[in-house]
Assembly symmetry: C2
Homo-oligomer: 237 residues x 2
């Protein structure tokens, strides 16, 4: 089938976790699409409904499951004719299997996309530093995929997680992107000092903290990798 003559496939974005992350993913899809006219952009449907229980609390066993609300959104995307969907929240991928099992369309997993993008870097890193929420780290879905693809990986210490990663995320959520840069740099530099040859941003707030940061190693944004995977799926590349 020729990608030039077949229409792009409709994709769904399950958002709301939080709502800004879903907008950010849409912007990254737009930027990743080789289009010169409106009509060449992807057909996208977005479920950006933020009335979902807290994901980090749920992963850590301190709150109700967000799965019923997430499933309702995924089913709405399927009903709207989407042929695949993605979730605009790293931590929510803890429930990726349950979610995928509840709908008839494939879930494009953010960690699959990110690890594939790491493997395509011009110089493939041996050891990857992972920055993410405590919930994402506890869930282990990035680590599992990194290991399966032959990467070594390391994460911040407990102290670095609280002082630097959580602080950077909180500042971005509060609208203080400039103030998020210093704690982000501290977290990333600590991983590089312990041997990380690339930094994987596994949290939708961190790319905003990373803007303008000066680091000795390449930084890969999982959201951008997911956007590229959505474009590839839609255009059958």
């Amino acid at each position: 089938m020729d990608a030039k003559t077949t229409p792009p496939r409709r994709i769904g974005i399950l958002g709301g976790m939080g709502p800004a992350a879903a907008i950010d993913l849409q912007a990254k899809v737009l930027a990743a699409t080789p289009a010169t006219t409106d009509r060449e952009h992807l057909p996208v449907v977005v479920w950006n409904v933020p009335q979902v229980p807290d994901r980090v609390a749920a992963v850590l066993g301190r709150g109700p499951s967000p799965v019923p609300e997430m499933l309702a959104g995924a089913r709405a995307l399927e009903a709207a004719g989407c042929e695949a969907f993605a979730v605009a929240c790293n931590t929510a991928h803890h429930w990726a299997d349950e979610l995928a099992a509840g709908v008839g369309i494939p879930l494009l997993h953010i960690a699959d996309a990110a690890v594939a993008a790491l493997a395509r870097l011009p110089i493939r890193p041996m050891r990857v530093g992972l920055l993410a929420t405590r919930g994402t780290l506890a869930s282990g879905f990035f680590a599992e995929r990194l290991a399966r693809q032959g990467f070594e990986w390391l994460v911040p210490t407990e102290e670095e997680q609280d002082r630097f990663v959580a602080e950077a995320i909180a500042r971005v959520k509060a609208g203080d992107a400039a103030g998020a840069r210093a704690p982000f740099e501290a977290a990333a530099r600590a991983l590089a000092a312990r041997g990380a040859e690339a930094i994987l941003l596994g949290c939708t707030e961190l790319p905003i903290a990373a803007e303008g940061a000066r680091l000795p190693v390449p930084v890969l944004d999982a959201s951008r990798a997911l956007a590229e995977a959505l474009v590839d799926f839609s255009l059958r590349r």
Copy 2:
């Protein structure tokens, strides 16, 4: 009914015309929402499917109607449980009546929102300068509402429309926001020189051209007014 105790109403955004405008409207809704946590943001569903015939060509009688594609999107938003919807494209409001007649949920009209916002300006303008695409101007839905609310209004000359307005819009669409500012300023200053006491931006590209522009009169962005109307509807304000 107390707005604090009732959940926000789900709203729909009919986008794709172009896809960037739908992302921009979502960002404006997010910014206009009085929220400190994810859960306090509005539940939003977005149909951002850009495979729609060109609106300006259709208004000017030079191309097929976009109504079938728009109706399909509006019906999908209704099926997804939205209680009202908005269209993230000024020119597409030429078909607002047909669209509203085809679904069972209300359309929040961008010109209603913009004219209401003009009437709430600290100093109510007597005469409003309207900057929009040739299709929007030909359709007349802004002019009709401005007149109905007691505003005088004026538009660019044919030459200004081609040299300044179309040029500013084209530069934004091409990603050259900085280059769009000078033609935008020229168009707005010409209207102010002919007596406009406020400038209404009735095209989703123009607010980007207007960033950093220095003008002698206030500028009102119809998209921002529409975002505020969506927040008001959802929160029952």
